[in-house]
Structures are given as structure tokens and as C-alpha cells.
Amino acid sequence: MGTIVFFIFAILAIAAASGVVTSRNIVHSAFYLALSFSGVAVLYVLMNADFLAAVQLLVYTGAVSIMVVFAVMLTLRGEVSDSNPENRKWGWGAFISVLLFAVIALVVLTNSDWRVLPSAWTSGGSAEDMSLLLLSQFMIPFEAAAVLLTVALAGAVILAKGVKENQ
């Protein structure tokens, strides 16, 4: 059962991702992106990372996708059906990407140690476990992340607001 679900959503995520990079309409790309994020969230659930799955849905599917859509709306000009074209060097890009994938796949498949099957899962991965870890061992990175988010927020506001001349 888990296997079927896995393949459905893995394929969904990959298909949506290829939709993102091949669609010539940037609005479609943005929606494919949200779909891909949701597919990945299901993979997280299959890996017993419930909390991460929730965060994935909230942050990526919810927030990031919406922000992308807004940015698209703010900057769209010209014909929407040709808003997301490839450049002239796309062939080279495809070559390097496929090469990288081939190398990774070779390493993964020729290595028996990595064909690990899941061991029995008893508990863990809930928000409670994560928060315990975050507030003890990872306290400093946690605080740093909080600072980063604040700074990014302020930076984004300042950048998007723009600087007025003669001030």
C-alpha cells in the first residue's frame, strides 16, 4: 500500500517539477511548483516526518508559491503564453543536468549499502520531538535562524519598497 502511494506521489512530484521547467507559461509553472511541493510533502509523511510534511505544506505550498505568484503578477508584461522561454544554451544545461543525474544514479545503484530498507518506526518526528531537539542541542542555530528570518523580512521590505531619490 505504502509503495503504491509512494510511486503515485513521487511520480507526481517529478512530473510537476518537469512541468515547472518546461512550461512556457510562467503562471502554469508556478502552479506546477505548488503541486510538486505537495507531492514531496506526501513523501515526508511516508518517511514518518509528519511535522516536516506539515511545515512543507504551510511554508512551501502555502507561502512560497503564493509569493511567487504575486511576483509573477507584479512583473508580468507582454504575452503570458510566452512568458517563460528557454534561452539559447538550454541544450548545454540539459546535458550537464542529465550527466549529473547519471552519475548520482550510478553511485546510488551500484552501491549495495544504500539499498537500505526501512526499519521499524516506533515514534519520533512529531512536533514535540523536534521542538525538544531544537531547544536543547540546536538552540544556537535555532536562534540564528530566527534572526535570519527577521533580517530577511526587513531586507525584503526595504528592497521592495525602494529608495526614494533626493532623500
Binding site: 503504491i4 513521487a10 512583473t75 544545461g93 549529473l100 537500505v116 525538544l132
Partner: protein, 114 residues
Amino acid sequence: MNLGNLSVGLSTYLLVGAMLFCLGLYGVFAKRNIIAILMSLELMLNAVNINFVAFNRFLWNQKIDIHYILTGNVAALFVIVVAAAEIAVGLALVITIYRNRQSTNVDEFNWLKW
């Protein structure tokens, strides 16, 4: 064949992650619209997160303290935080550039030229 008993292994997840990563990489290389490039970057970060969580899940060992074994998930969480910050600043930059240049086309951004 009973598909229910056929478990999915670590390498399958890694391959899914690699696939997503390479698709994102292709998007970064090949797209003209800078927002599309940012989207592709998000795909790549997602792929990395899949790997983190997969390693965490499959190398999970009951005997080790649970507070250490969730480290992979925590790393993924931090990646999400950084990604959120990145997309916010990135899009703000896009809007600023758009305001100055009236364009989102990367081909036209050649300030790095000699």
C-alpha cells in the same frame, strides 16, 4: 505479486531526490525568466530536503537516543527556513531589478560583464 509488502528503499528516495535536483538544475540553466530560476532553486532545495529526511528515516536506529536521531529532520527544517528567507529576499530583488530595468529577462542582466 503483493505490492503491499514491497517496501521502498533508501536508494529509491535518493533517486527521486536526484531527479528533482537535476530538473531544478536544468531550470536554473535554461530558463530566461528570473522568477522561473528562483522556482527552480526551490525545487533543488526540496530535493536536498528529501535526502535529509530519507537518510534520517532509513539510518534510524532505536538504540540511539531519539534526540540525536532526528537530526536529519532538523537540518531539513533549517533548510526550509533558509529557503523561505531566500525566496523573500530574492523576490524583493527581482521586483527592484524589474523596477529599474522593466524586465525579468536574465539574458539582459549582464552587469557582470567586463
